[in-house]
């Protein structure tokens, strides 16, 4: 019951006049030139900082980074957060998108509401959730007025609730990014496919597994890559909620750069993020490679 993956890219060549520069190059060249001109030199400078000491090449900063008491907790927290958060967000986002597609009452209003967290900067989002979770915040206010004891959600000696709070806040803040990509991807999938499968007696799960998800693959791939890379980059929410008690690698980068004024170690930390992000992106690109790319239609 598998439907072939979406329209495969096919060489659309102009048969009239053969050109020397292929059109693809012309189309992507501006972006390459732009990025290289603007970021090329700063990126090289930035990355080199991690290895440039007084007497040329040095690994001192890498050692310094690894020996810092916050480094390994930060690595562990970052990986833990990403490993738990990303699957959760995709389940939520896909569920939400399917709910919308089934055309509930007020679906436009619902969709708008679900996209609103996108508009919030991570600083503001951290502030909102801090007002909810802090010892005298809204959540404990509700608990108290119900006659229950308030709970120190953000106490440093309570790592489980600490993690939970960061997770809830991050899921709230950034699921809408995945949702919007998935919704825009779903727009392109004709309902006929789904209806056809229905006529043939496929259950909901079968249709999801064999029709909808495969057709959504390009969108999901992009959403996964972007969401993961952005997840490595954000720390304002975790910092607002937990201070230094739940360090993340990118938060450490900022701390070393601004508070400790050591751009070298900051650059080393940035490299860790860069390498991790790139490895995961390569993995996603390969694992979710569009099989239709090789095939013909």
């Amino acid at each position: 019951m598998t439907v072939d993956s979406p329209p495969a890219p096919v060489q659309l060549d102009t048969p009239a006049r053969p050109r020397r520069i292929p059109p693809a190059v012309l189309l992507i060249a501006p972006s390459i030139v732009f990025m290289a001109l603007l970021l090329g030199w700063p990126v090289i400078q930035g990355v080199l900082q991690a290895f440039r000491g007084d007497e040329g090449f040095t690994l001192d900063y890498i050692t310094r980074m690894v020996e810092d008491p916050y480094f390994w907790p930060a690595v562990r927290n970052t990986l833990l957060l990403i490993a738990v958060m990303i699957p959760l967000q995709f389940v939520f986002a896909i569920t939400m998108a399917l709910l919308l597609r089934s055309n509930p009452r007020l679906n436009k209003v619902h969709f708008f509401v679900w996209a609103i967290p996108l508009a919030l900067s991570d600083l503001a989002a951290g502030l909102v959730w801090l007002s909810i979770f802090n010892d005298r915040g809204y959540l404990n206010s509700v608990l108290t007025s119900l006659g229950l004891d308030s709970i120190p959600w953000l106490a440093y000696d309570n790592p489980a609730t600490l993690f939970l709070c960061v997770l809830v806040a991050e899921v709230w803040r950034s699921t809408s990014l995945v949702l919007v990509i998935v919704v825009s991807g779903l727009q392109g999938i004709p309902k006929d496919y789904d209806e056809a499968a229905q006529v043939f007696g496929a259950t909901f799960w079968q249709r999801l597994r064999h029709v909808t998800l495969p057709l959504l693959k390009p969108s999901l791939q992009v959403a996964l890559i972007l969401r993961t890379i952005l997840a490595f980059q954000t720390f304002a929410v975790a910092q607002a909620l937990t201070g230094q008690n739940f360090p993340l690698v990118v938060g450490e980068t900022y701390r070393w750069y601004t508070a400790l004024q050591n751009p070298n170690v900051a650059a080393a930390l940035a490299l860790v993020i860069l390498v991790a992000s790139m490895l995961i992106s390569v993995f996603y690109l390969r694992a979710l490679r569009d099989k239709g790319q090789e095939g013909t239609r």
Binding site: P6, P7, P9, Q11, L12, P23, A24, V25, L27, I28, I32, M35, L38, P42, V43, L99, L100, N103, P104, N107, F111, V113, I116, L118, A119, S121, L123, L127, V128, S131, R136, Y138, S141, V142, T144, L177, I181, V183, S184, G188, D192, P218, Q221, V222, I225, L226, I229, F232, Q233, Y254, T258, P263, A266, A267, A270, I273, M278, V282, L285, D290
Partner: protein
């Protein structure tokens, strides 16, 4: 969801209503699920609005009131009245729209190429785009500011537009590529058969169908630019964008001001999303294809 299971026909002309009941129950569950999710999304927004419009004293109470009993525009007013807020608002609009236009201009063709053409360097190209986004830009502060000082664009909105475009391009290109992938190639071929030039076919046939995805990409671009603090504050001095002007100051401000600032900043991006949402879902349930 509907069920398609066929029940053996009963001998009597009695109608089996269970599928219908089930359908109704499913619809009700669906509505309920939507409402629960909306509540989860709205409650924090409600709380920030409530806090922004409360008096400073009432924020110190415990337990906090969940109802708007102490409304006041004092903190919001003070926030909106501070030096340079209007100018910063204008700068943010310029930067947001400028970033939107340039990144669309550069990004959409590249996304189209990524979707439609098979070229060998496809994966390296994608990784190249992501590479620039995967490095925390804080470590680029000094070299970036130096670059713009050298070319004499420092402290202008142009500098911020250029930086934000660079930050938004990966998103724009990858999302638009995923959208173009889902536009069937036969539509384009059909348009060509009807006599369109490649560019014409792209503009008149492919673009409208890809609009939802392009709207999504533009939402990300605008919102990213609207909320970006670090780049804007290292590249400008007297021509700040709104977040660079206020977000850093918020971190040290009393709680009431932080809420007021967070609230005031979020309104424009919510309006923008409301506006773009129409393009994003303009094809729901349409059977145009």
């Amino acid at each position: 969801m509907t069920t398609t299971q066929m029940k053996p026909l009963a001998p009597q002309p009695e109608v089996d209503t269970s599928p219908l009941k089930r359908l109704r129950r499913d619809r009700a569950l669906l509505q309920a699920a939507c409402i629960v999710i909306s509540l989860f999304m709205l409650v924090p927004i409600y709380l920030i609005s409530l806090a922004a419009l409360s008096t400073r004293e009432s924020l110190n109470d415990f337990p906090l009131s969940l109802l708007p009993t102490n409304l006041s525009f004092e903190t919001l007013g003070a926030f909106l009245g501070s030096t340079g807020i209007l100018g910063a608002f204008g700068n943010s609009l310029i930067v947001g729209i400028g970033t939107l236009l340039i990144s669309a201009l550069i990004g959409i063709p590249a996304g189209y190429a990524l979707a439609r053409f098979a070229f060998p360097a496809k994966e390296p190209y994608q990784l190249f785009l992501l590479f620039t986004r995967a490095l925390p830009i804080v470590v680029l502060s000094v070299p970036l500011a130096r670059l713009f000082l050298t070319v004499d664009l420092y402290d202008t909105t142009y500098a911020v537009i250029l930086l934000h475009t660079a930050l938004a391009l990966p998103t724009t290109i990858l999302i638009s590529a995923s959208v173009f992938l889902s536009v069937p190639i036969d539509v384009e071929e059909a348009a060509r058969v009807f006599g369109c030039t490649p560019a014409g076919a792209f503009l008149k046939v492919v673009m409208p169908m890809a609009l939802p995805g392009l709207a999504a990409a533009s939402i990300f671009t605008f919102v990213m630019s609207w909320n970006e603090v670090l780049g804007a504050s290292i590249l400008t001095l007297d021509h700040r964008t709104l977040p660079a002007q206020v977000l850093t100051s918020l971190a040290d401000s009393p709680l009431a001001y932080r809420f007021a600032g967070g609230f005031a900043l979020v309104i424009p991006s919510i309006i923008f999303i409301a506006f773009m949402r129409r393009y994003l879902t303009n094809m729901w349930g349409s059977t145009i294809r």
